[in-house]
């Protein structure tokens, strides 16, 4: 039941997932570059950046447009994900399960030398799920609080006006949290981690090597293998064989 380690790659991400990840990079960077200087407007560096981006009005315009696009992408992403799950087009591999929590505990025990082996992960490990759900919930917080700040009059007509300054601190703090998580967690997981250094290319090419798949997502790999009753020629399924239809989620 084992393929050759060097037998090739497996298609891991759909084109839709690759596009979403690329769009997310552009929008996230645009929002950070135009947003963080507004969080600390009296820093010399912020003022330099704002001046060189065309002034505060241009910066705010870009920020709002990027934010609206981010909101649209978030809504479309959730709609596609929910729709796909309801129509059973793909498996709910990104949903949190009890195993994710036990995996996290076992993984930390392994890091500390208290467990013999790391947990065996499925299609997404708990670290990737953490980042995915952080992005979904953080994105929702940013979109809602951003819209409150964009349309303060409309909001104040139906809800207490104190929500507007509250939305401002929420937006500002949640942005910092997202930035720090991406800086620490994503930059490590996808770039600085010695196992993928300098750069994990699978979300750009859509492919992952069989070797890495077997090492990082052993349960997914095993599920992919044809059952003994179905095949007469074991080992031929691996190269270039598409995985089960991938979910729309980017890999964290």
């Amino acid at each position: 039941m084992r393929a050759q380690p060097s037998a090739g790659y497996v298609v891991r991400f759909s084109r839709w997932a690759i596009v979403q990840h690329a769009v997310m990079i552009v929008l996230f960077v645009a929002l950070l570059v135009t947003g963080l200087p507004q969080k600390w407007p009296y820093l010399e560096a912020s003022r330099w950046l704002i001046a060189h981006l065309g002034g505060i009005f241009a910066v705010r315009w870009v920020h709002r447009m990027a934010g609206l696009l981010m909101a649209v992408f978030t809504v479309v992403h959730v709609a596609v994900a929910v729709g796909g799950l309801l129509l059973r087009r793909f498996e709910p591999t990104m949903l949190l399960t009890r195993k994710d929590f036990t995996d996290a505990v076992q993984n930390l025990r392994f890091y500390l030398g208290r467990a013999e082996a790391p947990p065996r992960f499925g299609r997404y490990d708990y670290r990737q799920k953490f980042e995915y759900w952080g992005l979904i919930f953080g994105g929702a917080v940013m979109v809602v609080s951003g819209l409150v700040l964009y349309y303060p009059i409309a909001v104040s007509r139906f809800l207490p006006s104190e929500l507007i300054p509250a939305a401002k601190v929420l937006h500002s703090n949640e942005a910092l949290l997202a930035f720090l998580i991406i800086l620490i967690w994503h930059m490590y997981g996808a770039h600085l981690n010695p196992e993928v250094f300098p750069f994990d290319s699978s979300i750009f090419t859509g492919k992952i090597s069989v070797e890495r798949l077997r090492h990082e997502h052993p349960l997914e790999w095993e599920e992919m293998q044809p059952r003994p009753a179905e095949t007469a020629a074991p080992g031929e399924a691996a190269p270039g064989a598409p995985a089960s239809p991938p979910p729309p989620a980017p890999r964290g």
């Binding site: 505060i56 949290l177 981690n193």
Partner: protein
Amino acid sequence: MSVLEGGAMSPRQLSAAGPPGWRPSLFRALIVSTLLGRAIPAVAQEDPSSACFDCHADSSLTLALDDGSEMPLFVDSGALAGSVHEGQLVCTDCHQGYDGDHPSGKTFASRRAFVATAAGVCKECHFETYTLNLGSVHFEALERGAEDVPTCSDCHGAHDIHDPHQKQAMMSGSCARCHRDVFDRYSQSVHGKALVEEGNDDVPACADCHTAHRVERPRSASFRFGSPEACVRCHGDAELMAGYGLSTDVAASYLADFHGVTASLARGGHLEGTDRQVVVVCADCHGVHDIGSPKAISAEQMKARVAGVCARCHQGAGTDFPAAWLSHYRPSLRHAPLVFLVNLAYKVFIPFMVLGLGLQVVLHLYRVAIRR
């Protein structure tokens, strides 16, 4: 009268250890004197001004001007005494060119024409101040040909010039003479009352906000966006405000707010060419010349006033909309509890996440390292 002509300087002026601004012009005068081949007169034995008073002490002495009016030429012999120029200038330092054929029979078009010409003499020594004035709204009007534009002596006086940094001195003679209505409003304000009635020097007088010489057009975008700076200069000064029991949070809270950030960043004219007012500044809520103490009116009145200000730009803003502004308070459980709690939650949550994720990264690196 050739006030600009580089005449001989008085020996007193040469020996005077005046303020620093004097030295370049003294130097220039020396060079001019040398180039013209004029010897610097020896130290006079008697007061060179005394000859002037032979005639100008006569209170009936006048000069017929071209416009038909008469200009009094009487000068109080004690006029310079007590002025900033006492002991430093004599008559001919300013009134140059009257030596030989005096009185020459020359006259001026009008009193204003004489005053405007006479102003040229001040820049001989106060050149920096003169250049500041070139950018002012007053100079702009002068260039357009307006006559009633203040020149040096209109604000500072001619013979009786006092230290312009004394607020009382500055207020009494200068701006109010032309801007009477503004001054009347100002003198009813919390600042004006303190200055006019109590002689309080802490409060701003005209020039503290408008500046003295480079008086900017007050409705320009750059003056408007820059105006909070004038307020913050005092209201951000903890030591000064402590004396009046006022909080310096007013400055910090305004600058931390969306509008304060806009005002501070939009300076430099990003709005030039538009008449859009995208930002609210201190004066929009508190008033300009008629600033009153916010404590003098009720919270309800204040809220209604702020609501009116909001509605000027935010069409459809209701009476509750001012609650979107934290009223210069720092968020606390009493004022804006929701804002306070959201902030507090993140103050705990962000370090918790950063430390947790950082720890896991470090542990992973440790695992990778010992496996090798």
